[in-house]
């Protein structure tokens, strides 16, 4: 079965990609399988300068999910450009670069730099990271701010721009529409929900940052609902994510209205998960009566 999909200008071999922050810059996972097999690779968020991120502990397990508060640790956009992107150049898989920042200026300069890389085929604007004190999430919870930022970033880059939505909002459709109007080329949804776990022994939050972002199968019903609602109101391509652990989950996201999907937390439970899903997806689609991804999309659009 031909699994290729088109997300606006972006052409993917298949709709499966690792989610930002769960796959580093690809090197580690290249020990497990050939990164050429992936539909795309979304790399860890880049900021203007190197960031150490939050104190540890940074992760905690929750029922069918996990919390993380990495705090956007990354070596900074220049280091990423010089040290990380060259490795990914050798693969015939589009790289989507996730962009974060504390200020609008930071978003703009990081976006501009990354869009100059020939390895980077699209940008993903992370306006939804719940784990940093400033920047990030306020852009993702206010439609007006989201509109402004998207528009300005779009002006300084010449690559497709996906904007990654926060689920921690009353009205996800309102934000999505603002971003579409601002000229984005696609949406990524969803980022994590803000959560907390308390250590009964120390009576303190387990995550040093106190709160962390909830991901994994626990949040899948929320992701499906939000994608389903946003799909009805926009034509933008959607990269769906939130709790995918199997090819069946991928089909559920496609039926909800996603055009492609990203897999985050599941990489930790099973480092081969993206490859395994790519391998089993055709059989799973066929077992539900689909001969192609287009057919799935048609059904989803009904």
């Amino acid at each position: 079965m031909n699994l290729s999909v088109r997300l606006g200008e972006l052409e993917l071999k298949n709709p499966i990609m690792p989610a930002s922050g769960c796959f580093g810059f690809g090197k580690e996972f290249s020990q497990f399988y050939n990164l050429n097999n992936l539909g795309a690779i979304v790399i860890k968020a880049a900021t203007g300068e190197a960031r150490f991120g939050n104190p540890t502990p940074r992760v905690a397990e929750t029922p069918s999910g996990m919390l993380n508060a990495i705090g956007l640790q990354n070596p900074g956009v220049d280091q990423i450009f010089e040290q990380e992107l060259p490795f990914l150049e050798s693969f015939d898989t589009p790289v989507i670069a996730n962009v974060a920042g504390s200020t609008e200026d930071e978003y703009l300069s990081v976006s501009e730099k990354l869009s100059n890389s020939k390895t980077v085929k699209a940008l993903e604007l992370n306006i939804s990271c719940p784990n940093v004190k400033e920047g990030g999430i306020q852009f993702g919870t206010d439609p007006e701010l989201a509109y402004q930022l998207t528009r300005r970033v779009k002006n300084v880059i010449d690559k497709p721009l996906f904007v990654k939505l926060s689920p921690n909002v009353t009205d996800i459709v309102g934000i999505a529409k603002a971003i579409e109007e601002a000229g984005a080329d696609g949406l990524s949804m969803i980022n994590t929900l803000t959560g907390m776990k308390i250590d009964l022994k120390t009576h303190q939050p387990i995550i040093a940052n106190e709160t962390g972002g909830l991901s994994g199968p626990a949040i899948k019903p929320i992701a499906i609902r939000m994608i389903h609602h946003v799909r009805k109101e926009t034509r933008l391509p959607i990269i769906g994510m939130g709790g995918i652990v199997s090819a069946e989950d991928v089909l559920e996201f496609l039926l909800a209205g996603a055009d492609a999907v990203a897999i985050g937390t599941a990489n930790f439970q099973n480092p081969y998960i993206c490859q395994e899903i790519i391998d089993t997806l055709p059989d799973v689609l066929e077992s539900y009566g689909y001969q192609s991804l287009d057919q799935v999309r048609e059904v989803a659009m009904q």
Binding site: A50, G53, T56, P57, V59, M66, P217, N267, F268, P271
Partner: protein
Amino acid sequence: MVHGDVLVKSNRLIALDTYEMVLAGDLVQHIQLPGQFVHVKIGEGSTHMLRRPFSIADYNPETNEFVLVYKLIGEGTTWLSQLRMGDSLDVLGPLGNGFQIQGIQKQRILVVGGGVGVPPLYNLVKQLSAHNQVTAILGYQSIDSVFYEEEFNKWADVHIATDDGSYGSKGFVTDVINQLNLSVDQYFSCGPLGMLRSVQNNMEGYEGFLSVEERMGCGVGACFACVCPAKNEKGYVKICQDGPVFDAREVTL
């Protein structure tokens, strides 16, 4: 690195809330050094999205067997403790960098372990003892928690300390270090953070290696969950990838 099912050969209680599990599988062929660890999947399906890291306490390439010693802490270790001979376990490993022991000879070695920091030192001591003189100071909460004393006795001069003095000397492993007044060329340590810090301070100036714990996500260096500040140009190390064993003079605990 190998990922796949290994076979449970035995799984038995060896001290209070402490189990020893012997496993068999091809990943043993890939173990390079003592101090490496494995990342263990817990339960079925998607209830437990995070694997659990455990040090390899001992291994034998000839029998294809390796040993984990673990303490009951929460859901994951409780689940592990219920496995029986013949069950299989999904393990990713060996991971990380172990204790660099190649070429260490005719040295006076001090090994300091506390609680579940003791297991990763076992195979280390076994290997070092062939060409070195090893003193092991092992700390436990109380007499009920003591394990592997006999095993260590075969390879090292062993001193036990318990928090409550119910066995060995009462107090901290660092008290024992001070009392013994040893001449040491190199030291190796693993245990709770507080203990590691004390040992690091106490042994300042000596060449030493610490095995450090932190909550992990991926276990392979991709998620930045397990970092620790370090005196290198990046300013940090990843425990899963750059460690868990570090030169004591490089990490900031």
